[in-house]
């Protein structure tokens, strides 16, 4: 389907190429493309369904043939009739309100006859076991359900290939494992290409794997299931205890039980549980009720109020900021707009903000979603540093590998917090299972 020969790609106005000399041929079957952020895998992905170079005016050299035709000979949307795509973010790939309307939208684009549409939608949903969602509003579905609907929308056009861009990034491990098992059956009749930097979640789904590094293919071989990254627990001497009380919250559809949390300085706490179990609500409540707690949201950019790194750090107090700027490695970016920083820099800036405002507990909301290995290592480093300096660190996650960095655990289920547990938690299969934390292949 795809033949690339000495392919290079450069974004307009950038000094270096994102893809440098890529040569490969994609054959039928299931292929995984891995690589760290910035390795060029997303760019390559967007060239395979021909969203690039047209939509970003990128500069391409070398050969790229899609279905035995050079990429330039396709018009917009043309190759997309043969290649279905599922994107990473469940929230920004739908156009219409309900599942059925969304499927109709795709069929209309494919110029399917009006009379044939309902039949095809019904058959598709039946094959994928999604019939019960037909009239549901997409907005009300969970992340995993949305990704299933996105696959249905891609498959209803009867493509020859299915491309998926990190479809598991926002799913908890149980949901992710269920999605992979479901996709294994759903995608029996199409060829599949997946971009993901965490192959471990996919079990033995693939036939082949291609690894990219800074725009080059460094590995192209049959797929072998691989264990996930490993992290060492952060061990620091613990000092004075802090006690937090989190009051009960009643919502129409959800109830968060009251809970108490005791954290010692130097402790690293992980809060685990399924998506929708109430972890984030609990965390927000913790931060709202205690001035000692500094919350770093999932996208750290939400924290920023001003238009300059220095002003951001100096906001709301008059302590000196210069030493901290150097320690965070942001001194060259003093005047940059906080929103223009990279994700890692944004997170460091957010932590800097928390340090200067004298928070004793730094709480991260889902800090690992969509992060690659080097970014996770950097986060691990940052957390260890905080703990060493006598701050307590807490994070909410469904990333079981990264959770190993913690030394104390709490579990959340249906709005009820239980704990603390120590690392022996990982040997208690029943407990893990009950909280959606055990999947085949891990644990």
């Amino acid at each position: 389907m795809v033949e690339a020969e000495q392919l290079t790609f450069r974004y307009p106005g950038k000094p270096t190429d994102v893809l440098t000399d890529v040569t490969f041929t994609l054959r039928d079957g299931r292929t995984l493309i891995t690589g760290a952020s910035g390795s060029g895998k997303s760019t390559l992905f967007a060239m395979m369904n021909r969203l690039y170079p047209d939509n970003c005016d990128g500069i391409v050299t070398g050969k790229l043939r899609l279905f035995d035709r050079s990429y330039e000979t396709y018009g917009p949307g043309e190759v997309n009739r043969r290649v279905g795509t599922v994107f990473q973010d469940p929230d920004s790939q739908f156009v219409m309100q309900t599942v059925e309307e969304e499927l109709i939208f795709t069929l209309e684009n494919f110029q399917v006859d009006r009379e044939a549409m309902m039949g095809r939608i019904e058959a598709m949903l039946q094959t994928l076991h999604l019939s019960k969602y037909r009239h549901r509003r997409i907005h009300d579905l969970s992340g995993g359900e949305k990704q299933q609907i996105a696959v249905a929308c891609a498959l209803v056009g009867r493509p020859e290939w299915l491309l998926l861009d990190e479809p598991l990034a926002h799913l908890d491990p149980e949901t992710a494992a269920r999605f992979v098992r479901w996709l294994d059956v759903a995608a029996r009749t199409v060829n599949v290409v997946v971009i993901d930097h965490r192959p471990s979640l996919w079990g033995s789904f693939f036939d082949r794997q291609i690894e990219l590094q800074t725009g080059c293919i460094i590995n192209d071989r049959p797929f072998t299931p691989r264990p996930d990254y490993e992290f060492e627990p952060i061990q620091m001497p613990r000092t004075d205890d802090l006690l937090f009380h989190i009051p009960k919250i009643n919502r129409e559809t959800f109830e968060l039980a009251a809970s108490d949390l005791t954290v010692a300085a130097g402790e690293v706490v992980a809060i685990l549980g399924r998506n929708g179990s109430g972890k984030s609500t609990w965390l927000k409540s913790l931060a709202r009720n205690h001035r000692d707690v500094g919350l770093v949201p999932q996208s750290p950019a939400h924290l920023f109020i001003t238009g300059e790194v220095t002003r951001e750090l100096a906001y709301g107090h008059d302590r000196p900021i210069d030493e901290l700027l150097t320690r965070l490695g942001l001194e060259t970016l003093r005047d940059a707009h906080p929103l223009s920083l990279s994700h890692g820099q944004k997170r460091r800036l957010a932590i800097g903000v928390m340090m200067l405002s004298g928070k004793r507990l730094i709480a991260f909301d889902e800090p690992t979603a969509g992060q690659d290995e080097s970014s996770l290592r950097a986060l691990h480093q940052l957390m260890a540093e905080r703990a060493r300096e006598g701050q307590a660190v807490l994070f909410v996650t469904h990333d079981l590998s990264f959770a190993r960095t913690a030394n104390t655990y709490y579990l959340m289920r249906d709005g009820k917090l239980s704990g603390p547990y120590d690392t022996s938690l990982w040997d208690d299969a029943d407990l893990l299972q009950a909280h959606g934390l055990l999947t085949e292949g891990t644990g």
């Binding site: 939509n55 949307g77 156009v95 309100q97 795709t106 109020i305």
Partner: protein, 245 residues
């Protein structure tokens, strides 16, 4: 045969024609007749909650009363018999007629607009504009995406308020929230542009190009559409006749 089922484009064109025509009538009777007639047609051919209608009407009713009042108090002095004196301003019969005309025009405009808005499903309106109004699918589907975008944007804004409050921004009263809006614009805009790009990619990836597609949701033009449009036009004709009689 109801206004809910009526083809939205036909309805839109008819209502717009009526409003345009009303702008040329300078007597109190025509707008009054249109106002009453619209209400009659609405009660006959539409199932509109009068409570909702009343609530929407309140601000416009106030506008109408305001118009009446200001035209009376600050009306141009004109020759003619003085009917009464208001705050030292001699109000002639001509002044009264002008004031009532303007006030009734506001009411007639409102009644017509409400007849359209309260009986029209926005989605069906866009479909119909695409089919009868030859609106480009690119624009139409941007509107659909907009419908979906709104709750997402609202959610994003609530999250920003929440995290900013945690950073010590004073956000206690409604006024605090309003004052903080300029600080939210750049992050909201940055987020929206990214989201919009993603949705645009997703649309192209599903073969949406803006030209040649089939249509599932057909919004037809039927005889009852023409009948309802004629009724509205007839109402206008009669009202004009009442006015210039």
């Amino acid at each position: 045969m109801t206004f809910h089922e009526m083809n939205p484009t036909v309805k839109f064109v008819t209502v717009t024609c009526l409003m345009f025509g009303l702008a040329f009538m300078f007597n109190p009777w025509t707008p009054l007749a249109v106002f009453i007639g619209t209400l009659v047609l609405q009660s006959l051919f539409a199932n509109v909650s009068w409570k909702r209608w009343g609530l929407f009407m309140i601000p416009f009713l106030l506008t109408a009363i305001g118009t009446l009042w200001t035209t009376l108090v600050f009306g141009k002095a004109s020759s003619g018999e003085v009917v009464f004196v208001l705050f030292g301003n001699n109000v002639t019969e001509e002044n009264v007629m002008l004031a009532v005309t303007l006030a009734l025009r506001v009411l007639a405009f409102t009644a017509l607009s409400l007849l359209f808005t309260l009986t029209t499903d926005p989605k069906r309106f866009v479909y119909s504009l695409m089919q009868q109004g030859k609106l480009s699918p690119k624009i139409a589907y941007s509107v659909f995406v907009g419908f979906r975008f709104f709750p997402i944007l609202k959610h994003e804004m609530m999250q920003l308020y929440e995290t900013h409050a945690l950073r010590g921004v004073r956000l206690e009263t409604r006024l605090d929230h309003v004052r903080h809006v300029p600080k939210l614009l750049i992050p909201l805009l940055a987020g929206s542009i990214r989201q919009a790009e993603r949705i645009a990619f997703s649309m192209e990836a599903r073969a949406f190009t803006g030209d040649k597609r089939t249509t599932y949701e057909v919004v037809p033009v039927t005889r009852s559409d023409m009948l309802l449009a004629s009724l509205l036009l007839l109402l206008f004709g009669v009202s004009v006749w009442i006015g210039i009689r």
